[in-house]
Amino acid sequence: MLQVILQQTRPTTLNVDLNCEKGEVLALVGPSGAGKSSVLRCIAGLQSAQKGMISCKGKTWFDSEARINQTPQQRRVGMVFQHYALFPHLTVMENIKLALDIDKDLHHQHGEQLLDKVNLSGLEQRYPHQLSGGQQQRVAIARALARQPEVLLLDEPFSAVDKVTRRKLYMELNTLRRQLDMPVILVTHDLDEAAMLADNLCVIHQGSTLQQGRPEQVLFKPDNVAIARQVDARNVFTGQLVEHENSLKLKWYDNLIDVVDTTNFSVGDNIHWTLSPSKVLLHQRVRQSRGEHENPLVGTISEMVSLRGITTLILNVEHTQEKHLQMDLPEHVAIRNQLKIGETISVSLLADAIHLMQE
């Protein structure tokens, strides 16, 4: 297991506490300049924090109190840099051989195995500039794995390739990760990418780790509003908890909304709440369903955008001053219900998907 605790005030602030089990992919997410790459560089030994501790597989790589600070060469890390940092004067095979830490007689055989693993067989003698962005990334991964690392670090590995190649590489990385039995840390600012590839997400902002957990937990049940903003939660509103018919309800303007999880909250609390746009259900116009009694609201469609089969609606909800309740629904549902801008529709907010946060 990789355990990282870092504290620093200068030159940039770092307040990091994260861990990653072997075989697990942990995505470090946050905006540009949040300190994601600094954390990765600290793990690799390319920079040091003022205070903290980094240990992997029971070995201490960095401990400010015990004055332990191993060099990158001493730590067994495999690092894939943002722009891959392949050695331009060496062929693909030579790039990999240079990082192999085994008997020289086995170099060629092992190098070929690694290239096969990343689907690059046949390109051994090419130079980096003769490869596409996707191929360069695969060489960088093969080189990072050549050292039989104890942790694999991926620094925005998909940012330098086009969208089509990126999707292909996502699949390849997903396949490859199942064969790896080491902690993998993926740095990205793309939340969709992180949610797709990672087992766990760790949100980092201004050098501080805010929340670590399963993607659905972090994305849809953030600990606080700051995290909700970092993970781009699209429906974040304020409200108050009130008692109604012996149960706690969320009072949102004049609406009383059923909420399932009110643990740690009490009557009178002013709170923030969030709800995934996919958990706002459209009441079909042609036939009614039983779910329509669950937190029903009426609103007017103020905006409507379709992308890749998903239609996003922005509603002005009646009896509220909120003009931005977002909901996602399959495009064919929008078409079948003949939804248009300016039309009034009724929707349900799923009670168990409403997540409350302290103000």
Partner: protein, 223 residues
């Protein structure tokens, strides 16, 4: 054709450029890797011979090589000979005045190497020395070749400093450029012409080499 002067010039240029390989590389590496207060001043000192009149540089070198000075005195105590007006003195002076021609191309080529490349080598388990020899040196090679060629040709053609500190001692300090000057003064234009043509040919070849390697270097830089 003064073959003795040709031999002195070639020996001096060759020795100077060979000496500047480790000296220039060490200075360029330190400047490329470190950011310290006074770095600009150090760079200015190294570049000074480019802009200083050769007579001024020659004068200070001559003063520095005087038997009563620290350097001159040390040389006398070690060899029993005076440093000024000797081949050794000329060699030392050549290293000084050709230093910017060696350091600048090496520095630029080392600075052109992305820090990530170096870090990737460390993360691949390569020690700092191995990183230098297997990654940085091959990548900086065009700059190093340029540095060697420029310092060779510049040493070959230097006149003012040579005259100031070497004088005109046949077989010891009389270089081709001094011999050309002598020939012109003696109205021996044929000899001046043949020696000038040799220097011209060498300069042309060396500059062609420099441009070829520079083009190769820029190709490497954009990879």
């Amino acid at each position: 054709m003064d073959w003795q002067a040709f031999e002195v010039s070639m020996s001096l240029a060759l020795l100077t450029c060979l000496s500047l390989l480790p000296i220039g590389l060490a200075i360029a590496y330190l400047l490329a890797k470190s950011r310290f207060v006074g770095r600009g001043f150090i760079e200015a000192i190294i570049t000074l011979p480019l802009v200083l009149p050769p007579t001024v540089l020659g004068y200070f070198l001559l003063v520095g090589m005087d038997n009563n000075s620290f350097l001159g005195g040390l040389f006398v105590s070690l060899t029993g000979q005076s440093l000024a007006f000797s081949f050794a003195g000329l060699w030392f002076a050549s290293i000084i005045y050709s230093l910017p021609f060696a350091v600048q191309p090496m520095l630029r080529s080392l600075e052109n190497i992305e820090p990530e490349i170096r870090e990737a080598a460390w993360c691949s388990g390569l020690s700092k020395w191995k990183t230098f020899f297997k990654i940085e040196l091959p990548l900086a090679w065009p700059g190093i070749i340029t540095a060697m060629v420029l310092s060779f040709s510049h040493t070959l053609g230097e006149f003012g400093v040579v005259l100031m500190i070497g004088g005109n001692i046949a077989g010891e300090t009389r270089t081709l450029s001094i011999a050309i000057y002598d020939s012109v003064l003696a109205f021996d234009h044929q000899q001046a012409q043949s020696m000038s043509l040799i220097l011209l040919a060498i300069a042309l070849v060396t500059i062609t080499i420099v441009y070829t390697f520079n083009r190769k270097q820029s190709r490497v830089a954009v990879l």
